[in-house]
């Protein structure tokens, strides 16, 4: 038996999302099982089947150099905005 990961699109325009996995002797059976498990109530508008062994999992993606300017927390504008408003005389209350 092989394990197949199932991805489904719930409605047009939605992203493909992992639905679960099924065990099947081959791809033909996997297709039948996926159809029955994830399609028989019309709950999916697209299904993908991926043999588990073809998935490459990327183990680590650490931000080694702490590149904050790529993230929201790299921009703390609150204090400086306040100061800018004070200088401009537009600070309320």
């Amino acid at each position: 038996m092989s394990v197949f990961e199932v991805f489904r699109r719930e409605r047009a325009g939605a992203p493909m999302q992992h639905a679960g996995s099924i065990a099947a002797p081959d791809a033909r059976f996997a297709e039948v099982y996926a159809r029955e498990q994830y399609g028989r109530r019309g709950e999916s508008e697209a299904l993908w089947l991926v043999p588990r062994e073809s998935i490459d999992e990327i183990a680590e993606f650490v931000d080694e150099f702490d590149l904050k300017y790529r993230r929201v927390d790299g921009y703390s504008i609150k204090e400086r905005l306040k100061e800018a408003r004070q200088r401009a005389g537009t600070l309320e209350g």
Partner: protein, 299 residues
């Protein structure tokens, strides 16, 4: 407890989630595997009492609806055994343990069904009791289980509709039909009251400790009583417990079930345990050639 286990415990207790490939303490893996396996076994064994009624369903529509429910439950078993497999226990081993009586399944599937009334009561109230536990599992710390529970709960909601529809048809039918529902309720009330387990406080429940479960047994039972007793009563049906009453504080009083009896039932000593396990064993042997053929062809 070592540091790693302590960190893991703190992680799950503060709402953290665990994925299949993550490290987990042996105790967590063991308890979780046993719990999900028992759930899978229950879905698989749960189709047997209903299977008896496919050929005896009163109309074609009911026959199809019942068959669809059975397909759903068998599908749930498949999905849950997949979870167990990823936790390290092969499906074959689960099926072997089930027929050897080494693993358990829910108490309600150890009882016989005597009439079509039982089919309605099972689909309505047993599934209602089950959905309460299953909804609480949406918050399980083991994310693959919680995710699959979303699909399972969605499908269970159809079963409750189906069951309620069967019951409503019977109670609006002849006196004889109404009697079938009342008799079935009288039979099923005790197992239903046992369904959520003994009232172990959440703080003492190791399953809550590891956040595999997030709801205390008694909380689940109270939710069931609050939701469904009024629905039973409003149909003019009665429940066989003179103590059953909603207190002013909203807490339901009831006759304490015999918890030793529950233990005996789930340990394989229920009225239909032996018959159900024997049937499972038989069908496993009968379909063995199918899996051998299919696997040989695929190889």
């Amino acid at each position: 407890m070592d540091v790693r286990t302590e960190e893991f415990l703190a992680h799950v207790q503060s709402g953290g989630l665990v994925e299949a490939g993550d490290w987990m303490p042996d105790e967590y893996r063991k308890r979780l595997t046993k719990f999900v396996e028992m759930h899978a076994n229950s879905e698989l064994m749960g189709v047997l009492p209903e299977r008896d009624w496919i050929l005896r369903a009163p109309t074609l529509q009911r026959k199809l609806a019942l068959t669809a429910k059975i397909q759903d439950e068998a599908g749930h078993a498949q999905l849950l055994y997949r979870i167990v497999e990823d936790l390290g226990k092969p499906r074959e081993a689960c099926l072997d343990d089930l027929i050897a009586g080494k693993s358990k399944f829910h108490n309600v599937f150890h009882y016989p069904t005597k009439s079509w009334g039982d089919v309605g009561v099972i689909a309505w109230l047993v599934d209602a009791a089950a959905i309460i536990s299953q909804k609480a599992l949406l918050k399980c710390s083991y994310a693959p289980y919680a995710r699959i529970m979303r699909k399972i709960c969605w499908e269970e909601s159809f079963h409750i509709l189906h069951g309620r529809d069967v019951v409503l048809t019977l109670v609006t039918g002849t006196d004889g039909q109404r009697e079938l529902v009342q008799e079935a309720l009288d039979r099923w009330w005790e197992p239903l009251m046992m369904f959520h387990g003994n009232p172990i406080p959440a703080d003492d429940d190791p399953m809550v400790h590891w956040r595999i479960k997030s709801q205390a047994n008694e909380e689940a039972r109270q939710q069931f009583l609050e939701g469904y007793v009024p629905q039973v009563w409003e149909l003019g049906l009665t429940l066989p417990d003179p103590k059953l009453e909603r207190g002013e504080d909203g807490i339901w009083a009831y006759t304490e079930p015999d918890w030793e009896k529950l233990q005996a039932v789930v340990s394989g000593n229920g009225p239909a345990s032996a018959e159900r396990i024997a049937f499972r064993k038989l069908s496993r042997a009968e379909i063995d050639w199918v899996s051998r053929t299919v696997l040989a062809e695929a190889a």
